[in-house]
Symmetry: C2
Subunit: 134 residues, 2 copies
Amino acid sequence: MNIGQAAEHTGLSAKTIRYYEDIDLVTPARRRDNGYRDYVERDIHMLRFVARARDLGFSVEDCRVLLALYDDKGRKSADVKEIALRRVADIDEKIEALKGMRATLAHLAEKCHGDDRPDCPILDEFAEGGSERI
Amino acid sequence: MNIGQAAEHTGLSAKTIRYYEDIDLVTPARRRDNGYRDYVERDIHMLRFVARARDLGFSVEDCRVLLALYDDKGRKSADVKEIALRRVADIDEKIEALKGMRATLAHLAEKCHGDDRPDCPILDEFAEGGSERI
DNA sequence: ATAAGGCTTCCAGTTACTGGAAGGTCAAGG
DNA sequence: CCTTGACCTTCCAGTAACTGGAAGCCTTAT
């Protein structure tokens, strides 16, 4: 399977797949006589594994650890769980912060006339600088 | 106020403040005779605004737009309102995406034994059900 | 006078790709 | 057989948004 097909099967771009090989995140694909990379089922699995983890917000370095753990017969599921739970906590924090920003912006937008008059409570609040919220 | 104090007041690093000046995101601070940057209230508020927006996932380019509107005396409050409302929609989207991610991770972590046993549903899920070795 | 720490600039590195140039390969059509 | 276009290859650069470090000047305190 060429890199193009591998890309289709994994949802990654060919560029990204080459990049992952380049940084030794995944084991290099076999080469055919013409120099083309040749992907087999196992390669696709590994790439999909990475694609999914990345999609869930794991860093490439996290993926490196996860792949090592997955490949390691003696790995502890506790290690993996800890990584996942740390990500959950990160996400919770981010969600809370976004909710705060959303409330501020929605509130200001509501107070804003939305006409052509130049005064705007959103920017006024910034100009006055009295508030830590925009 | 030196850049160090400005950093403390805004939660940004001195490096970051210089960087923001470098890319013309904020107006350059006045220089004192010794060449040191001198920050006044207005600078601090501008930096805080940027810091908060950046913290919540707004790009530097987003910040540039908001700051430009602030500087433009002829701006229409409708413009600002529109940007604010678009950001609110962006934030809602982001929150939803994060919630989805959180749900998946939390679910997987819950199913994970978290002991030393080698089988781990998180990794199994990443591999998309395959018990096959990667 | 000297040491510690803050300030300056500039250059390089980071993360995770992405784009593009220059060129080799392959299958189909004329 | 030749061409066309879609692949593939490598390598070099650039992106966002900083961050680290070197070299050197400035300030403050002892």
